[in-house]
């Protein structure tokens, strides 16, 4: 009897213990997407791709995490370093950019750095998961297109990081960027920096992948097209300046121009004419999306985050930015003599608040146009022309051929055209290079850092970088790259080495 009791007792306990309850512990979030169910078909893949583009905008995310104004900040920071700007409301950050004295612990650096990597990681997730989608759930051409755009966006994020944090002017340097090609996970969390050569290579591969897998124009200027990808590839090659790059730049530029997907505006003013905003087939090749309605929301919103963007760009009361003053008068002199001045800096009237109140501020209208859609000029066809001119100059093309390109922009903006005789003699080509850099500044200044990069890579006849003419605070190459944010160095536990610091 006892045995029987114990047997049944044991059986009951075994039954208790062996009841398969595995399913009871499977809790899938009801209001969150997880890795397993986030990118599983064509629709979700497109959503994820759009999410990657979304990092170009400036709005608080659902979580309340503030995303920096990508197109705004990334353009302004370089303009500050180039010495084109005065003022600014980002505490001492604006000032330290101007003085080439940014410290790794500056509180403004982390979010700025992180934002570019958010693009990279989001693109990596799109690439990783889209490849895994069964053929039955996605059309092959769509998959191909999504992957192409994701590759472009990953290259785009890496490119911006290289522009600001890497020794992009020295291809032999070890100070490249942290290149990430897989979705972030605990296994690859700690990743070191690649050298500059490898960093360039990673970016070029991504852009080439995009070029090979896309054709023709895109649906809008908010989406990469074949020509846009080529333009960015040309930019990377222009930055790298390897001997074999020069002819490729010219070829790419010619291909873009020949394709005719984008056309130069007839006048400089037309580039910024609100009626042309975001129109396909014109000069603007790539911009972040922001329309009048969204802009109006930002201006009238009482939300702090939106307000801050506006506050940084225009200011709620006084002048926020003004043309450079204490960083040398080269830029002011140049600017005041140029017809493009009035289209670069303008007094802007904005209506903010509820009830609405008029505010008058000086603003560089290229970055913030409160009276229209406020496009960002991340890439426009003018830059392709200028990059071609630079490549031609570097391949010893005839002066007149280079001038022909520069004069396109001088002519349409109402400036006096260059003539070949101005660039004759022993120093003629040096003078021409100076004119080329000035065109970058006047034509593209404060749009997308291209003027800063042109100043850095082009040197005068004394072998000095031309940035020294614009910003008297430039003294050493080390200040041309921002310090890696302190937190990144610490949290990467030694894998990410710091750039040589100017202030040590």
């Amino acid at each position: 009897m006892k045995q029987q009791v114990y047997t049944y007792l044991l059986l009951a306990l075994v039954a208790l213990a062996s009841a398969s309850c595995k399913k009871l512990l499977e809790e899938i979030p009801e209001y969150e997407l997880v890795g397993e169910n986030a990118i599983v078909d064509q629709s979700t893949a497109l959503n994820a791709l759009n999410g990657t583009y979304a990092f170009l905008k400036y709005e608080p995310l659902a979580s309340g995490t503030y995303t920096y104004a990508f197109s705004f900040e990334f353009a302004v920071n370089a303009a500050q370093m180039a010495g084109l700007l005065g003022g600014g409301r980002r505490s001492t950050f604006d000032e330290s950019l101007r003085y080439h004295s940014v410290v790794p612990s500056d509180n403004n650096l982390p979010a700025f750095y992180r934002q570019a990597y958010r693009i990279v990681n989001a693109a990596n997730n799109v690439i990783h998961y889209t490849q895994l989608i069964p053929a039955s759930k996605i059309n092959d051409p769509v998959r191909k297109q999504i992957l192409a755009e994701a590759h472009f966006l990953r290259g785009f994020g890496h490119l911006w990081l290289l522009k600001y944090y890497g020794y992009h002017w020295d291809v032999s340097s070890e100070y490249g960027i942290v290149v990430r090609k897989e979705p972030t996970n605990l296994g690859n969390l700690i990743t070191g920096r690649s050298n500059v050569a490898d960093s360039y290579q990673a970016i070029i591969q991504d852009f080439e992948h995009c070029i090979e897998n896309t054709a023709g124009p895109s649906a809008s200027v908010f989406q990469v097209s074949n020509s846009t990808a080529k333009a960015y590839l040309a930019e990377v090659l222009t930055m790298r300046q390897a001997p074999e790059d020069l002819s490729r730049i010219i070829t790419l530029a010619d291909e873009i121009i020949a394709a005719g997907d984008y056309k130069l505006e007839t006048t400089f003013a037309e580039v910024f004419n609100p009626s042309n905003d975001y129109k396909q087939g014109r000069e603007l090749m790539f911009s972040r999306a922001l329309n009048q309605e969204a802009l109006a929301d930002i201006l009238t919103s009482t939300g702090f985050f939106s307000y801050r963007v506006f506050h940084n760009a225009v200011g709620s009361g006084g002048v926020v930015y003004y043309p450079s003053d204490n960083t040398g008068d080269h830029y002011i002199t140049l600017l005041e003599q140029d017809e493009r001045y009035v289209h670069t800096w303008d007094s802007v009237t904005v209506t903010i608040g509820n009830p609405p109140e008029m505010k008058h501020n000086l603003s560089f209208v290229k970055v913030w146009r409160a009276n229209a859609n406020c496009p960002s000029y991340l890439m426009r066809l003018a830059q392709v022309y200028l990059m071609k001119a630079e490549a031609m100059l570097n391949t010893n093309a005839p002066v007149k051929d280079v001038l022909a390109i520069l004069n396109i922009f001088r002519e349409r903006s109402g400036n006096v055209l260059y003539v070949e005789s101005q660039f004759a003699g022993v120093d003629g080509r040096h003078t021409l290079r100076e004119a080329l850099v000035n065109e970058y500044v006047l034509e593209l200044g404060v749009e997308n850092a291209s003027e800063f990069l042109a100043m850095v890579r082009n040197k005068d006849q004394g072998g000095s970088r031309m940035i020294g003419r614009f910003n008297i605070h430039f003294s050493t190459d080390a200040s041309l790259a921002l310090p890696i944010p302190h937190d990144e160095v610490v949290l990467n536990k030694g894998a990410v080495i710091q750039n040589p610091l100017v202030l040590e």
């Binding site: 759009n50 999410g51 992180r114 990410v496």
Partner: protein, 1180 residues
């Protein structure tokens, strides 16, 4: 509350949803079908007859008792008999081989003056004669035999003075048939016609066993025990007694729930539990205190203890405030390694086992308790009056000008002109008003609280019920603050048969907490020379740009409500196959706990928030904030328990259980701006500008397998072994399950026969040791998954990676060992107590791991097992009874606890906590360290200032203002000056150091109680010694802004002046104008944390003092015959606080940051004292 209608139920989070409940049940039933089948089969088969067991006997001239022992050995049946009575037995001669037990017993009792009966599986031996009274110290009555088959045993339990004992436990031994006495001390139990053995227990009284042969009514007098050694202690999944416990378990003196009128459980038991550290917070009505058992063992999870009510564990969101103290019968706190490990992954913070009152008695009884409290201000904050304010302002101006003249910096000459303007404006031109407004005084109101409790209990033939109703209403000291709570407890218990028992519990509370809309900070900073109202009676509105905020604006323009509803439902079925398998019980319980909280605030358009600080650029026309949170917990628990005594000395009990819990949570916060009108059109649907809402939703489940076995030999040697296996959805599949074993042993030397003889004054001296493992599972529900969040771009939806996958997330496991001694010495437990030592090592405590920026995720951190923490400590508690006789009983208790906390490992050596730059974590040091600049008193003269300047070649010592009467910072690295970070970078660590600790050296409490006839005097106190605290309010004192100066505390009068060089505080100073670098005095005082405002927060508090009177029963019967019991009492809560801490309350803490929280005090809520009057009636 129409607001509820706005939030639609969502699938899976509708806690009232029958669908969800059914789905969970269905899911469980499917998965557990095997279990059910087996258990059913098991129960049926166990009904084999006890008497059919085979035995063999060969006895010649044997003694009956020895024969019974032999039968017990052979059959493992329980026998009940009295050895003294059996001495009258005749000799036994038997020779039986392999016969049934029934046959053997029949033969055995043929010629004996005894007979036997099988009662609930126990063979009870009884004498055949009628009405024989037994003379046994444990068996008090043997009652007349009656021929009925079933009967109700009714009875009354009283103390030595004839007072009814409420809540005494009455149990028929060997069965689960148990009840409690009601307010009259009455009980009723259903049992067999014959031979029930009833055990009656009550806290603080000797347990009695009554051998009932047949009766309908018994009266039992319980004598106060010399100690509580046999008091029932509620453990998880079972019970024990202090005498047989193998681990550290503290029991709260249950009487204090009757004696202390506070509405908060924690306030009542504060200082009464060794090892329990409490911080009551600011003292605002309804505020949740902080409770930490045996040190801080986690940085992220739920630090508080697990609360288990009537065997049902509450979820993380359950608060002590959800319990009505009047419903509590007892609280036992499991804190030892073995005791708490039975709750495995939820036991790391200790376990509070709360048993609520019940009692199913007939006839129905009604008890009513009323308490009324009057709250008075106790040391309110005192502010400068208008004259003092003006005087100190002028002084600060002169000090600034004088300092600048002495410094003689050209750059400041212009500023002197600026200050001259201030002088002309403020001093010469009659800038100040003529009022003398006491702004704080305007906001105080008479505070009162009232508490009503009604209990009704009753029992019919097969059904018993208990209904408890409670209502608490507190009016806070600050206008607009208050707290209301409604409680309902309903219990139903049915016994359809001896085999089956079922019951249900429905209880809940509704709490309505009104936070004062007034910002005390606004009132503190208002200028006293300004009027509260204009001459026409309207509220005075200061000019917007001044920054002054008349608190009356917010008071009249803000509507703030917070309502929370908590309820739990539980049902159980119990099967007790006593006849077939004595000692076995199978119980299955299903429960659902829900809470719903709604917070609603409307700020009118004339208030600071409602107008966006009166902004003209971004004005706002009113703001409404709506918050909704819902939590739910479903639990299924089934358990087999077994309890038997073999050969009268071998006591065995065990339990095996399966448990499934699903928790869910949903919260949503919405802000809506711009309303057409403030008074009526201010509903959430009237706002025109809804802002993006925020919220969270999650669901998590847990499976547990529990096993525990206890063995004790004659109550002298005890052993407990347990194992729990928990699995949770909160962890990645590969780290989902964890085991929580424990083992504990004890040797009660006091029960040793030899020792008893040699040292008779020792009743109990128990050595015990335990080892066990617990964990903290309160980690984010989806912390291990890759998650994506929503985004949008270019008018299209998008998703972006939110959180990194973390399959390495593991449990933070605490391994603890305990050594302890429990003792009870001298006659009637004159001195009793316990000593405990524990060491708790938490491995892999969860901490937020900051991801490299290049990880590119929205969430910048993930949870990881980064930290090891060790807590070790000693606890001592003593109770002495200097006088204990029938007339007077005086007891004194005290306890002291010491906990040493040490961070053993972490990811980085030094980590600044984000919420408060004032504290850090450092390996080798305790948690909660202050960190910052050290100060060295005040500069006494300009010569001293010059000396400090001369310490370095730059003639620049510190960024703080340097002048007589100013704070001196210490140069930590000895390089001749004090370095600061730059304006936007604050990583400069070289000058900062550890400044102190925020947890106490030791803490505890004392209590005493004197009973003389019907009078009872009791008092409880608590203390904490050695903790420091930053009173951040001080950081803004001793300085004025030159424009729009704010009022200051009266203690500013105690500032430094040349005439008072030993003053404890700096001199008054006006802050510099146009200080663009913000390195003047004001900025460093608030942003660069230093030790000048850290104070010793040691205190001793008399929590409660009470005097009550119980009229004798005879008096009641004569004058108030409807009452069976009455009590009238008066008490005072927070009678005295002895402390040197200058802030309002040394127990205040910051609720936002749980680690740095105890270090920080920014509270201004005034201390209060409550005078209570209470009545307690029990109706016949």
């Amino acid at each position: 509350m129409n607001n509820y209608l706005v939030f639609k139920e969502r699938k899976g989070y509708g806690y009232c949803s029958a669908f969800l409940f059914r789905r969970q049940i269905l899911k469980l039933l499917i998965v557990m079908k095997l279990t059910a089948v087996f258990v059913l089969l098991f129960s049926i088969q166990l009904s084999a007859r006890v008497l059919a067991q085979k035995v063999t006997l060969n006895v010649k001239n044997g003694v009956l008792s020895q024969v019974l022992e032999e039968l017990q050995r052979q059959t493992a049946c329980d026998f009940s008999y009295n050895e003294q009575i059996l001495r009258k037995s005749k000799v036994v001669n038997l020779n039986l081989k392999n016969v049934t037990l029934e046959k053997a017993l029949d033969k055995l009792f043929i010629d004996q003056p005894f007979k036997y009966e099988l009662v609930d599986g126990i063979i009870v031996v009884k004498i055949i004669q009628k009405e024989t009274k037994l003379n046994n110290k444990n068996v008090d009555f043997v009652l007349p035999v009656d021929s009925k088959q079933h009967q109700s045993i009714r009875g009354r339990v009283v103390d030595e003075n004839g007072k009814p004992l409420v809540g005494a436990s009455v149990q028929i031994i060997g069965t689960s048939n148990v009840t409690q006495t009601n307010q009259n001390g009455n009980f009723i139990l259903e049992t067999d016609r014959q031979s029930a053995v009833v055990k009656i227990q009550f806290v603080g009284y000797t347990t009695k066993t009554i051998h009932i042969n047949n009766t309908e009514e018994v009266n039992v007098i319980l004598v106060q025990t010399k100690e509580d050694l046999d008091e029932v202690v509620v453990l998880g999944y079972g019970t024990s007694t202090r005498r047989t416990m193998t681990d550290a378990v503290s029991s709260v003196d249950s009487l204090i729930f009757q004696e202390n009128a506070a509405s908060s459980v924690v306030e009542i038991i504060q200082g009464q539990v060794p090892g329990m550290m409490t911080m009551m917070g600011t003292g605002a009505p309804g505020e949740e205190p902080m409770v930490i058992m045996r040190g801080m063992s986690s940085l992220e999870g739920n630090l508080g203890p697990l609360i288990v009510i009537d065997d049902i564990p509450m979820d993380e969101s359950f608060s002590f405030n959800d319990i009505n103290p009047n419903d509590i019968l007892s609280i036992d706190i499991l804190k030892g390694a073995s005791a708490s490990s039975i709750y495995g992954s939820r036991g790391a913070g200790g376990v509070f086992m709360i048993t609520t009152k019940n009692g199913f008695n007939s006839p129905p009884t009604i008890g009513y308790r009323f308490n009324y409290g009057k709250v008075t201000l106790n040391e309110p904050l005192e502010m400068l009056n208008a004259d003092e304010f003006k005087t100190l302002f002028a002084e600060s101006l002169w000090n600034r000008v004088r300092d600048m003249n002495m410094i003689g910096n050209n750059a400041l000459i212009g500023d002197i002109a600026a200050y001259s303007t201030i002088y002309r404006t403020t001093i010469e031109q009659g800038f100040w008003g003529e009022e003398d407004t006491d702004w704080l005084g305007l906001l105080y109101q008479p505070a009162v609280n009232a508490n009503h409790n009604l209990n009704i209990t009753g029992r019919g033939e097969q059904l018993g019920y208990t209904i408890g109703l409670g209502y608490t209403d507190e009016v806070g000291q600050v206008i607009g603050s208050g707290y209301k709570r409604y409680n309902l407890d309903f219990k139903l218990d049915s016994k359809q048969s001896k085999l089956f028992q079922y019951g249900m519990i429905l209880s809940g509370s509704s709490q309505d907490r009104d936070e004062s809309p007034v910002s005390l900070a606004d009132a503190l900073t208002m200028r006293p020379d300004m009027p509260a109202r204009n001459e026409d009676g309207s509220i005075f509105v200061p000019a917007t740009a001044t920054g002054y905020r008349n608190p009356l604006i917010a008071l009249e323009g803000t509507d703030r409500n917070s309502l929370s509803l908590t309820y739990r439902m539980a049902g159980y079925i119990q099967v007790t196959p006593q006849k077939s398998v004595p000692g076995l019980t199978w119980k299955t319980l299903v429960s659902q706990n829900n809470s719903l909280s709604n917070r609603s605030i409307y700020y009118a358009s004339n208030t600071a928030i409602g107008s966006n600080n009166w902004s003209t650029t971004l004005p706002r026309q009113g703001r409404r904030i709506e918050g909704l949170s819902k939590t739910g917990k479903f639990e299924f628990d089934t358990r087999l328990s077994y309890r038997r005594t073999f050969k009268r000395r071998h006591n065995v009990d065990g339990v095996a259980a399966f448990n499934y819990i699903q928790n869910s949570s949903f919260s949503e916060n919405r802000t809506i701006d711009n309303f057409p009108e403030d008074n009526a059109l201010n509903g959430p649907f009237h706002g025109t500008t809804p802002l993006q809402s925020t919220g969270t939703a999650w669901r998590a489940s847990m499976l547990s397998y529990v096993f525990r076995a206890n063995y004790n030999y004659n109550r002298e040697y005890m052993l407990t072994v347990s194992m729990r296996r928990d699995g949770t959805s909160r962890m990645a599949p590969n780290a989902r399950y964890a085991n929580f074993p424990s083992v504990a042993g004890a040797w009660n030397i006091g029960e040793n026969k030899w020792f008893k003889k040699q040292v008779p004054w020792v009743d109990m001296f128990k050595l015990r040791g335990a080892w066990g493992r617990t964990a903290n599972a309160a980690v984010p529900a989806y912390g291990w998954m890759t998650t994506f969040t929503s985004s949008s771009y270019n008018n299209n939806t998008g998703i972006v990676p939110q959180q990194v996958a973390n399959d390495q997330l593991a449990w933070e496991t605490s391994t603890q060992y305990d050594l302890g001694i429990d003792f009870s010495l001298f006659k009637r437990g004159l001195l009793e107590g316990s000593i405990n030592y524990y060491n708790k090592f938490t491995k892999g405590a969860l901490n937020s791991y900051s991801l490299p920026l290049s990880s590119g995720l929205i969430s910048t951190s993930t949870m990881a097992n980064l930290i090891d923490i060790e807590n070790r400590g000693i606890e001592l508690d003593l109770t002495i009874h200097p006088v204990r006789n029938r007339t007077i009983h005086w007891s004194i208790s005290g306890n002291i606890g010491q906990n040493r906390n040490e961070l053993k490992r972490m990811d980085a050596d030094l980590k600044r906590l984000s919420a408060h730059a004032a504290t850090i974590l450092k390996v080798g040091e305790p948690i909660g360290l202050f960190y910052g600049y050290r100060t060295d008193g005040l500069f006494s003269s300009w010569e001293e200032v010059a000396y400090y300047h001369s310490l370095n070649e730059y003639n620049y010592y510190q960024a703080f203002h340097m002048a007589p009467g100013e704070i001196i910072l210490k140069d930590n690295n000895g390089n001749g000056w004090v370095e600061f970070g730059t304006g936007t970078a604050s990583y400069n660590e070289v000058e900062r150091q550890i400044l102190g600790k925020s947890f106490p050296d030791f803490f505890g409490g004392v209590s005493t109680r004197v009973r003389y006839k019907g009078f009872t005097f009791s008092a409880q106190g608590s203390y904490s010694v050695g903790a420091s605290k930053n009173w951040s309010v001080m950081e803004n004192q001793f300085q004025f802004s030159s424009s729009n100066p704010k009022n200051l505390l009266k203690l500013n009068l105690n500032r430094w002046t040349p005439d008072r060089p030993d003053a404890p505080y700096p001199k008054m100073l006006m802050n510099p104008e146009n200080d663009t670098r913000q390195f003047g005095r004001a900025k460093p005082l608030t942003s660069y944390f230093h030790d000048y405002w850290i104070y010793d927060a040691s205190y001793f508090k008399i929590n409660n003092v009470r005097l009550s009177y119980d009229p004798p029963t005879s008096l009641l019967e004569r004058y108030v015959p409807v009452l069976s019991r009455a009590q009238i009492g008066m008490s005072v809560n927070n009678l005295f606080l002895f402390t040197k801490y200058p802030g309002v309350n040394p127990e205040a803490y910051d609720r936002v940051d749980r680690i740095a929280g105890p270090a920080m005090d920014n509270s201004m809520y005034p201390k209060t004292r409550t005078y209570n009057f209470s009545l307690n009636f029990t109706f016949k």
